[in-house]
């Protein structure tokens, strides 16, 4: 950060900004965690097609990264998160949630075990002060390493092919859930592989541009396309994965508890391990576990290809939820959304959204039927 006034807003650029800018045909930029990131680099159709049928590369340097290291790093983190990470082996990573004392989510992210006593935590939101507060009483040090290095995400069905072209064949053998530092072009790069052929590369700052260029060049054969945040967001919504700060708020930053969620309200598998005797929120979550959650975050689809937006989810005349993420899927002509909906209203059908529909300058309202989509693993 430059020496300006502390409250002046600085839009920061990632180490890959110039490379990404070269790919932009849209001049569409968005802000993520204070960084200027690409919205779309090309038309949505082109990007989405590449992501679902070819391969894509994206700058993900705006994600927060924390280094947590020390003799008792594992103990400290195991009290922090709701799942049991004592089973997390070196070279692996796992999705984690963490709560405060009332069982409300403070953060979420991916936790990678880099070494016996060293971890990396990747999150959307700032959590350093919470990590520091959690360090008291443990031999551990937590620091924000977001400013170090950069992140690249290679994804899509031809991602492996792109790796081959790039001469990174051994990465094919990396299994989903692994996080390993590999030597690529003579540079040390932390590589994470997610399910669905998503590879994350975390090179050092100086190595980021050469790696980006190399992948872009080598991947052209496999139809590799650079994409921006909006297409990544579309994939996230399609997968039904809520994001803190967008679909719900962190318990330490939210003003109203209505906008804060518990692990039980999240879609998918509930990631709370009560066999672990001490972790933040345990007592509260245990009380909660016996009751059913009042709200749930669900994935929605509106089968209507018109130009429309919506926010309010209704059952009959009554509002039962709010849509927090919305995108248009060109492949299927559907609007996909994530919404927080009263749990009781989720079971039977009959949900509608109050859509605003546009045609050129005309705007009108219509109630459109909406359905809850099953989670991707069940699809």
């Amino acid at each position: 950060m430059s020496g300006g006034l502390p409250f002046r807003r600085h839009l920061r650029m990632t180490p890959l900004h110039a490379e990404v800018a070269v790919e932009s045909r849209t001049n569409d930029w968005v802000e993520r965690n204070g960084f200027t990131m690409a919205g779309h680099l090309d038309t949505p159709e082109t990007e989405v097609f590449a992501r679902y049928h070819r391969a894509t590369l994206a700058d993900i340097s705006s994600r927060r990264r924390y280094r947590i290291a020390g003799r008792e790093a594992m103990d400290c983190l195991n009290r922090l998160v709701t799942s049991d990470i004592s089973k997390l082996e070196e070279g692996h990573f796992s999705p984690v949630f963490f709560c405060e004392e009332n069982g409300l989510l403070v953060g979420e992210g991916s936790l990678a075990r880099i070494g016996d006593t060293e971890f990396r935590l990747f999150t959307e939101e700032e959590v350093l002060s919470w990590l520091r507060r959690n360090s008291t009483g443990f031999q551990v040090h937590a620091e924000d390493v977001s400013a170090e290095g950069a992140g690249l995400e290679l994804a899509g069905p031809l991602a492996e092919a792109a790796l081959d072209e790039a001469g990174f064949e051994p990465l094919r053998l990396l299994l989903a859930g692994h996080a390993q530092t590999r030597e690529l072009m003579g540079m040390p790069v932390l590589v994470l592989r997610h399910v669905g052929d998503v590879f994350e590369f975390w090179p050092e700052e100086d190595d980021a541009v050469p790696l980006w260029r190399h992948l872009m060049q080598a991947g052209r054969e496999a139809g590799l396309q650079a994409i921006g945040e909006k297409t990544r967001d579309l994939v996230r919504i399609d997968r039904g994965t809520p994001r803190m700060g967008t679909d719900y708020l962190g318990a330490l930053s939210a003003v109203s508890h209505d906008h804060v969620r518990t692990p039980f309200e999240m879609p998918g598998e509930i990631n709370v391990d009560f066999d672990k005797p001490v972790f933040n929120g345990r007592a509260a979550l245990r009380r909660m576990a016996v009751k059913s959650a009042s709200h749930r975050i669900v994935a929605l689809a509106v089968d209507d290809a018109r130009d429309l937006t919506f926010a309010v989810v209704c059952k009959g005349e009554r509002q039962v939820g709010v849509c927090t993420s919305l995108t248009f899927m060109p492949e299927t002509g559907q609007h996909l959304a994530l919404a927080t909906v009263e749990a009781a209203a989720c079971s039977a059908g009959g949900l509608t959204v109050e859509a605003e529909i546009r045609r050129e300058l005309a705007v009108w309202r219509e109630k459109l039927p909406v359905r809850i989509r099953p989670r991707p693993e069940n699809r």
């Binding site: 103990d75 004392e101 009332n102 507060r133 959690n134 009483g137 001490v278 345990r282 007592a283």
Partner: protein, 526 residues
């Protein structure tokens, strides 16, 4: 001390009076209890220190006004030799011009006395009645364990549940709400005129804290202290302030229990997340299925157990609690009785307060807060030898001076400022008893840090933690600890850090022991 890893039914960490009371209640229920006291003498804030083998000094506390009658009765303390040398002591507010006020607590007498001197007679009666009435609804709440809420969420909601729900009746709630935010100075300015009375009330409302009379919540503190007062009024035990601890030790030993002095707990042993024993700083390990700690909650949970066994929020809140000590002690051995101008010998045996006006109390609070010594320290003086001549050689006396509003951290450091502090305090006494210095043979000075290092009183804090309305009842010391049980299985708190707070009452110890026994009777332990 014998053998490694002795097995007891329960271990009590801390031989303060509350730890001893808890041990005696458990012993009464047939448990074999071991008490571990870090210091050389038991008693904690209520212990007697020997000086030159001739003087029995009230090392820290010097008066008892709140020892619970139920504790005395349950433990049959009288039968074990505990008695007061004097009770119902009058309070004497010293006036720089010699027009001292003497209050007995008897409304009629006090009104007559004050009216005769043109000092707020009727106003004082009205004030005292209001104090009495407010204390009357609080008192039952202090004499039983608090209601506890299941979670620590939303302090406001908790406040409503834990505090207001207990105050039965609309009027009591109104009274509480209007007082919780009020300062004692507001109250005094509304109802009293005489500066001496204002000073006395402000002194009592702020004693044992770093609060100044203009701080919100001080009106409530006054009521709180009043509500904890026992019927016997201000009293001095026979044999000195340490007599209570001594009686309790004899009682515990008679129950097959043991009390070890110079046995500092350095760690609580854990079996998974269950407390199962204690390691002493000399390496000895003792085990028991039940551990009670009369040390401060923060000390117990963060240092003896460790933050790792707690949820981070709780650990965080405990670590934020500031040490609130602002009281110092000067204990003097005298070879004669100094002449207090304008006081009868009977009055010299009372509780003597130097706090000429509310503003002087305010001023010394502000200087203490700034890390400075007050120019004119406010203080409470007690001469226990007026009532008990066994405490000193014949004709000799003990003067116990409790100096209020003394900073824990002082500008320039206590090493350099100690002498100046003593000089100022003695000078203040000499204003009323000019010949006092002629009699001083020896003495000891205990600054707030001294109280910590010498007698294990963390931060020199009277109450082992704050005492404003938001630190009380079901919120004390933290909502999830208010029921004496802790998140650590088998570990309970039993000191003044718990409800109903500090002072020599025995109530935290009693309630903790009763909680343990009730939980056991129910078949669970937490």
């Amino acid at each position: 001390m014998t053998g490694d890893r002795q097995a007891y039914d329960a271990i009590v960490i801390g031989g303060g009076h509350n730890g001893l009371v808890a041990a005696a209640y458990l012993g009464r229920a047939g448990k074999r209890v071991l008490v571990l006291e870090a210091g050389g003498i038991v008693g904690g804030g209520a212990l007697a220190a020997e000086l030159q083998h001739k003087y029995t000094l009230p090392a820290v506390s010097h008066l008892m006004d709140g020892l619970s009658a139920s504790v005395v009765k349950d433990l049959k303390l009288a039968r074990h030799g505990f008695a007061y040398a004097a009770s119902g002591l009058p309070t004497v507010a010293l006036d720089p011009d010699g027009r001292h006020l003497v209050l007995t607590g008897n409304a009629k007498d006090d009104e007559a006395f004050l009216s005769a001197r043109g000092q707020d007679g009727a106003k004082w009666t009205a004030f005292a009645r209001k104090l009495e009435n407010s204390a009357a609804w609080l008192s039952p709440l202090l004499n039983r364990p608090p209601l506890v809420a299941a979670s620590s969420s939303a302090r406001g909601k908790l406040m409503a549940r834990a505090v207001l729900a207990e105050a039965s009746g609309e009027r009591a709630r109104e009274a509480f709400l209007s007082l919780a935010a009020k300062s004692v100075s507001d109250w005094v300015h509304e109802e009293l005129e005489a500066p001496l009375l204002g000073g006395l009330v402000a002194f009592d409302a702020t004693l044992g804290s770093t609060d100044a009379p203009y701080d919100a919540g001080t009106a409530f503190r006054l009521i709180y202290r009043h509500a904890l007062k026992a019927k016997s009024g201000v009293a001095i035990p026979r044999g000195g302030i340490g007599a209570l601890a001594e009686t309790l030790v004899a009682l515990i030993e008679g129950q097959r229990g043991e009390v070890w002095a110079e046995a500092r707990a350095s760690r609580i042993l854990m079996d998974g997340t269950t407390a199962c024993g204690v390691v002493l700083d000399n390496g000895i390990e003792v085990s028991a299925p039940l551990i009670l700690s009369g040390a401060a909650p923060r000390e117990t949970l963060l240092r003896l157990v460790g933050a790792r066994y707690l949820e981070a929020d709780l650990a965080d809140r405990l670590s934020l609690g500031k040490a609130g000590g602002a009281t110092a002690k000067i204990n003097l051995a005298l070879d004669g009785m100094p002449g207090f101008r304008g006081l009868t010998p009977e009055q010299v045996g009372g509780r003597i307060v130097i706090a000429p006006s509310l503003d002087e109390v305010e001023e010394s609070a502000l200087s203490a807060r700034a890390g400075a010594l007050p120019l004119d320290p406010v203080m409470e003086i007690v001469m226990p030898t007026c009532h008990d001549d066994s405490l000193a050689p014949s004709g000799h006396h003990i003067m116990s001076i409790l100096v209020h509003q003394v900073p824990y951290e002082i500008e320039g450091g206590w090493e350099a400022r100690r002498e100046e502090f003593v000089q100022r305090a003695i000078r203040a006494v000499c204003r009323y008893a000019p010949d006092a210095t002629d009699y001083i043979l020896a003495g000891e000075v205990l600054t707030p840090p001294d109280l910590e290092t010498k007698y294990g009183i963390r931060g020199g804090d009277w109450h082992q933690g704050g005492l404003n309305p938001f630190d009380l009842l079901g919120l004390r010391p933290e909502p999830e600890l208010a029921g004496y049980a802790t998140p650590v299985n088998g570990l309970y708190l039993c000191g003044a850090g718990c409800h109903p707070g500090g002072g020599v009452t025995g109530l935290p110890g009693k309630f903790a022991a009763e909680t343990v026994l009730e939980a056991e009777a129910r078949g669970g332990r937490t």
